[in-house]
Symmetry: C2
Subunit: 279 residues, 2 copies
Amino acid sequence: MIEAKNITKNFRQVSALKRLNVSFGGNRIYGLLGRNGAGKSTLLNLIANRLIPSEGFVYVDGMPVMENDTALGRISYMSEDTLYEPSVRVRRMFEWSKLFHPEFDLAYSDTLAEKFGLDPRKKFGQLSTGYRSIAKLIATLASGAEYLLFDEPVLGLDANHRQLFYQELLMRYAEKPCTVILSTHLIEEVSALIEHVVIIKDGSILLDRPAEEIRSMGFTVSGRKEDVLAWCTGKNILGSQELGGLMLAHILGEPGGIPEPLTVTPLDLQQLFIHLTNA
Amino acid sequence: MIEAKNITKNFRQVSALKRLNVSFGGNRIYGLLGRNGAGKSTLLNLIANRLIPSEGFVYVDGMPVMENDTALGRISYMSEDTLYEPSVRVRRMFEWSKLFHPEFDLAYSDTLAEKFGLDPRKKFGQLSTGYRSIAKLIATLASGAEYLLFDEPVLGLDANHRQLFYQELLMRYAEKPCTVILSTHLIEEVSALIEHVVIIKDGSILLDRPAEEIRSMGFTVSGRKEDVLAWCTGKNILGSQELGGLMLAHILGEPGGIPEPLTVTPLDLQQLFIHLTNA
């Protein structure tokens, strides 16, 4: 279990995190969601001991992370910032990871590099935004760590590579139990993957609940536009989309009775997120 | 009309584009799609005269773009690379844009900056990935140009800001006719916006067709998993997703007759893209 207890982090005059309490564990996949600047990366940096809290403590399996290699060795963190020199070759970066994570699987990282079309002889600084993300996400997938933290893992990846990442993450997760924290802006794409949702807003926890519970906070109806519009009158509508004569409406609350021509599906997590975090 | 005629672009030994012919015009919104490295950014750089073709020519409204300020003035290009010094303040960047695009609307760029929560006094180098994208996309939205080219406009943007960008783009498009080229990896999100799809693969045009036609290349069925599985046997399935007991399958071809319990919806463009461009 990773536990952040009563964490405050100030940068000059700005409080990035405010008396925050949250924990991650139990071999689940967490979605860590929040708007730009909400404090997601700050929280991950504190968990990985790249930042020191102004107040509070972070524990990994009961051990404080501060200057504790045993605790930190259980965490592999793909951060937005990179610690690698531009001149370091990708294969070298994997080899270095093995020094810190003895269970790092070099055969697996080579296989992943091939699947993603990443040439491990390339220097990190030569890679495009997408391939930088790929090199970093491979290092975390292959780390063998108990806690895998990903900050914007699919930044710059094309649709095919994003799908490949989600597949490989699920395979890694199935083969060797681990707790995964996915911090991402592409909520819709990961909504089928995540089992627990943590939303940060302005440095505080806004929501911390199983994904299943959150999906039951509302529902989506779809059908012919006129039928949807007629049925939705007076309901608490989060948003809607149209395509041709069809309409999709995201609604808070319980569906209750649904008239025949409409279809009911689970709530769109991204729409709920936008609703909860806007202004 | 922007016309790229018989364009080849070589970088050392590598051919990024090969005898490519494509045109963009008619006040439509184009989706320019392709995998990482397919040649999308190279094509946009050639159109905006930031690169010179090894062979072939680019014309804007009949004028060659090469060293032609009249032709180039009709184009506003939000590129992945930035031409701005890190020390330049955002408001200054907008003012410089006005030198090149006399119809640049500074009141509009100020309004947009406020809507996106971008402080125009900040220096470009201080901005996060998301806010860099926002500063650049505002400059293009407010340019007043006839041709708006966006290369990965939503890189690093949170879900709320992505939705705001799509809304503002549609408003700009409705108020003043323009031709828009959107190059993006987030295909699903823009699929309702784009009217014409151009897919580049390995430096050549793979597909160049109205979005409506492409959507009719296949369809999606959804319903209870066992019903979907039973009905799909022997069909050309692009991919599928599951959620609880529900299943969604993307299928190439004509739906023909559909058994009652299943729902048919238009084809998912992102799934089709992955299918067409994989390996």
